[in-house]
């Protein structure tokens, strides 16, 4: 047995490994360092945390803010009719929420429709940005300002407004006496083929918050 050769062999292997690492060159080391930093930042900011399935729950007078609009529910009630505005059909009731809404974009928006080719889709679409939970509207929602202003509700940029939105829902909805309103982040899409290229739609994005407020029967 030649035990006297072992230290020399180890030195040769170590020297070989060192040459191999050195031969990787500076660019590869820089790439490895860069990737490590990116991974550390990704993990540090919670990139590996499981996605949250439950939105932030807020209550009355608390603001839900997205990148393009902010909404605060001031109160909510159920009723059969709003004088001069809307009446519920038999078997239905109206859920009426009073909200402070602010348009944070740079162009006017219509709460329930479109204005100058901008369709905000806060209500009255298959996937509205403000969506009732536990109640499926049976028809279009209507909206109006609380100060008696005429016309549809057009929100100017950075000018908050107090409005009421009324959704017709089946009688017996909201049995627990709580209005839950999901607030979604809008995602901007522009017209491509069918619609003109200057048509802007706010499509439903991630759920930002769920507003839960007690409903007062009128």
């Amino acid at each position: 047995m030649r035990t006297d050769e072992t230290p020399g062999a180890v030195r040769r292997v170590a020297a070989g490994s060192g040459r191999a690492l050195a031969s990787l060159g500076a660019p590869l080391w820089a790439a490895i360092l860069f990737a490590t930093i990116i991974a550390a930042v990704f993990v540090g900011f919670g990139g590996l945390r499981p996605a949250s399935a439950s939105p932030t729950e807020i209550g009355v007078d608390e603001e839900a803010r997205t990148s393009l609009y902010a909404v605060t529910v001031l109160d909510a009630e159920t009723t059969d009719a709003v004088e001069g505005r809307m009446e519920a059909d038999p078997g239905e009731t109206l859920v009426v929420a009073t909200l402070r809404v602010e348009n944070l974009s740079d162009r006017p928006i219509d709460i329930g429709g479109s204005v100058d080719r901008v369709e905000a889709r806060l209500v009255n679409t298959a996937a509205p940005l403000l969506a009732l939970v536990d109640a499926e509207p049976t028809d279009y929602a209507r909206s109006w300002r609380t100060d008696g202003s005429p016309g549809t509700v057009v929100l100017q940029p950075d000018v908050p407004a107090v409005v009421q939105i009324a959704w017709p829902v089946p009688e017996g909805s909201l049995a627990d006496g709580i209005l839950r309103l999901d607030v979604h982040e809008p995602e901007i899409t522009t017209g491509k083929v069918i619609l003109s290229s200057d048509h802007i739609s706010w499509d439903r994005g991630d759920l930002v918050a769920r507003i839960a407020v007690p409903v007062e029967p009128s």
């Binding site: 016309g151 000018v159 200057d198």
Partner: protein, 183 residues
Amino acid sequence: MRRGAPWAIGAALVVVAGVAVALTPPDIALTQAFSIHGGEGDAVTGRTLTAQVRDAAFAERVSTGDWEADGNWLVVSVAASAPQTEVDAAVILAALEVGDRTFHASERVRDSLLGTALRVGTDTVGMLAFELPADVDAGDADLRLITSYSTPQLDDVVVLPLSLDDLPSEAEIEIVAPEWEGF
């Protein structure tokens, strides 16, 4: 050919491609409206509208009849007429562009110039009220007057420049229904 020549040619082609992309107009440029600009206070004529700013002022409150609303209001008095035909001649949409933001004449105000039928050869003088955020009280603005429900494509839009600097500020302005001038 030298070893570096292919790299130089490739880099040059990338630069040319970047310039081509940068200079290519967006899709919207194919159909956008033709803005007809005038000087401040000038009467400007487009295909469907002749208009001139007569007066402008800020107000803390606007009122009409039994309705009133507080806020930062800009009230603009405009004289408008139809250049060729009275069919569908009306200002339907009035937009005020201030910096990056666009504001529309308020739908809240009855008796504004919006929707008023215009005449050929006779000015109709009416008011437009814009509800603005508190930080809009100075600077340059463009008033765009449109005779359809949305900004037209491949058609004229009258653009009237408006300086918001040094405009008078009043406690309340009552919106007066449009009237024919000279009658």
